[in-house]
Amino acid sequence: MYAGIDVGSRVTKAVILDGDGIRGCALEDNIPQPLASAHSALAKALAASGVGRDALLYCVGTGYGRDCLDFVDARRTELSCDGCGINFIRPDARTIIDIGAQDSKVIKIDGSGAMLDFILNDKCAAGTGRFLEVMAGAIGLSVDMLGEYSLRSGKPCLVNNTCTVFAETEVISLLSSGNKTEDIAAGVHKAIASRVGNCVMKLGAEPEVVFAGGVAKNQGVRSALEQLTGVRFATLSIDPQFVGAIGAARIACQLYKKKENA
């Protein structure tokens, strides 16, 4: 068994993999601190797989908090892990758009899942899950409801500011001018799509294009991005939040075999 642990800025994901496929996965909020969440997520994923910790042959950590994982055998960036994870699920994928809580990235991969090029968002919250959280808060919705609400919109509002703080002010003023919640939500999604869409256009979107990361669960952002880029995203058979952890587990398997053969 191989484990991949993806310590994101908000949530830690753990995946257990064996030769045949995914045996179990789990996620845990990063509260109070990432290392504890990683232990807990791994324990849950192991329990879901029906095996104990001693069954683990190799463990790879990824995500922004990977350096805090003192028990892993190796660490890789979320960029490599995304490529490897997506390749496991969709071998035909060549472009990955990943929007997480703290950053967004576009990665081009080859047929083996190896990275060919990548681009990350600028150093600010615009174009990330955090942007959505702040806007959902301003609208008065939970972030999970934002996507569903936005799909009811007939006339999305225009949210111009890319700065999260200014965009929040803009959303508040849209609310006070009597705009509908769903139109504002759709506007917020268009704003985030335009930020990330710029990165997609810079790198070029080669099919199949997949959408991963926690924000990929938001149907509103997904449809806004599809509209903007003119590309229909390939479907994923698993929760898009787990892509990085799956990639880490797969790299764990590769590294273990390399070590055995050495």
Binding site: Y64, R76, T77, L79, M115, L116, F118, L120, D122, K123
Partner: protein, 412 residues
């Protein structure tokens, strides 16, 4: 300008065993330099001229007999001391200049406005080329605070009429300096200074070539100090230092010793103060930068076939100087295809896996050339990673993720 390299110091440097010991000496010398310069001014009454670019015509300043220096007491890290805090310098500069201006001239102007940097305060005249818009406009404000002479740099690199105009500008710069110091600067004095700067170019060129070796005989941070020490020290002292340093590097190469790592080229905007943070981040990730396409480093030797010396056989020394300085492939020129040629030569001859492109926040000319450079490098089979850098030290973690991802991509 005062020299610090007496025979005793030279012998001491020669007796040093390692490249690192020598760099330790030069770092201390650079740290002490502002104090020396200020003392020298007090003692001799000589004027201090601040020059602000590699196209600073130091050959003429040297021949004029003045003290000349880059204007800032450059700190290695941001400190609590507000006197040398870049963030507060930039904030002060933004009193006059837009937020979207390059941080280099903005921090320089800001520190002058704050008025608490002893070196900057002792400068009697600034000499600066009209390089980019940010620098040009910043020095229009600087001129309100301290005498400033700006000479113009035409942007069309290869145009014969542009060269004639530039040569005329250099002649005017000389006249301005002669008026300022109150006596003529003879041709033969300029030629003699040019000869010393030529020697500096030869030594720097040799230094660059020595870094082609694997393992590389010097770290990129140490090389940065070596390659820029001529800006602050007396160039004669810098030459003695580089001769000894190059010898130690040659010995290290002969022993096949040095530094291993993922070999990369660093290209892009001027590094200035942010260089050390970036180098450190790269080193932490296991990178060895072995050549830099930056103005203080390999960019000067753009076709990598010679040290590109000032032609001392040309009867017109001003013509020869203008010829040398107008050939540096800076992003302000158009078209700037020579820079692509340089990078193609660098990636092919330095045995590297790729290129890091340093994009300095709001440095429009260099940031704009990124896509062109990236396309050319990709055509040659080399991946490029763009690192967006502010002038501060706060973005190290963000940079690290990008660098680590890039290294995984190039298979290291």
């Amino acid at each position: 300008m005062e020299r610090i390299m007496d025979e005793k110091t030279r012998l001491r440097l020669e007796s040093m065993e390692t490249v690192e010991e020598l760099i330790g000496w030069v770092k201390r010398a650079l740290t002490d330099r502002p104090g020396y310069i200020i003392d020298e001014k007090k003692r001799t009454g000589n004027k201090i001229i601040g020059f602000c670019c590699i196209i600073g015509f130091r050959e003429i300043l040297d021949a004029a007999g003045v003290i000349y220096t880059p204007p800032l007491t450059t700190p290695v890290e941001d400190t609590e001391d507000s006197r040398i805090n870049t963030t507060s310098d930039i904030a002060a500069g933004e009193r006059y200049l837009p937020k979207t201006f390059c941080p280099i001239p903005k921090s320089m102007l800001g520190r002058k406005i704050k008025g608490n940097d002893p070196l900057l305060e002792s400068i009697d005249l600034f000499v600066t080329p009209s390089i980019c818009d940010c620098r040009t406009k910043a020095f229009e404000y600087m001129a309100q605070l301290v005498p400033t002479y700006m000479f113009d740099v035409p942007k069309k690199f290869d145009e014969p009429a542009a060269f004639e105009y530039f040569k005329n500008e250099v002649g005017n710069l000389r006249k301005k300096l002669e008026t300022f110091i109150g006596h003529p600067i003879p041709d033969d004095a300029i030629a003699e200074s040019a000869r010393i700067f030529n020697r500096n170019s030869e030594l720097q060129y040799e230094h660059c070539l020595l870094r082609r070796n694997d393992p590389v005989p010097i770290t990129s941070t140490d090389s940065f100090f070596a390659m820029t020490c001529d800006m602050k020290l007396n160039v004669r002292d810098a030459n003695v230092f580089l001769e000894i340093l190059n010898k130690k590097m040659r010995e290290r190469v002969a022993r096949k010793e040095g530094f291993k790592g993922v070999r990369l080229i660093l290209a892009g905007a001027p590094l200035a103060r942010s260089a050390l943070t970036l180098y450190q981040t790269l080193a932490d990730c296991g990178v060895q930068i072995v050549a830099e396409d930056t103005c203080a480093q390999a960019r000067k030797f753009f076709d990598f076939t010679s040290a590109h010396l000032i032609d001392l056989n040309n009867g017109d020394i001003i013509h020869a100087l203008a010829k040398k300085h107008m050939r540096l492939p800076c992003a302000i020129y158009t078209p700037n295809s020579k820079r692509i040629e340089l990078l193609e030569n660098l990636v092919k001859s330095f045995n590297v896996k790729g290129v890091i492109y340093h994009a300095l926040e709001n440095c429009a000319p260099f940031n704009a050339e990124y896509e062109k450079i990236k396309a050319a490098m990709n055509r040659a089979g080399f991946p490029v990673l763009r690192i967006d850098n502010t002038f501060a030290t706060s973005d190290r973690e963000q940079q690290k993720l990008r660098v680590q991802g890039f290294l995984e991509m190039v298979g290291s």
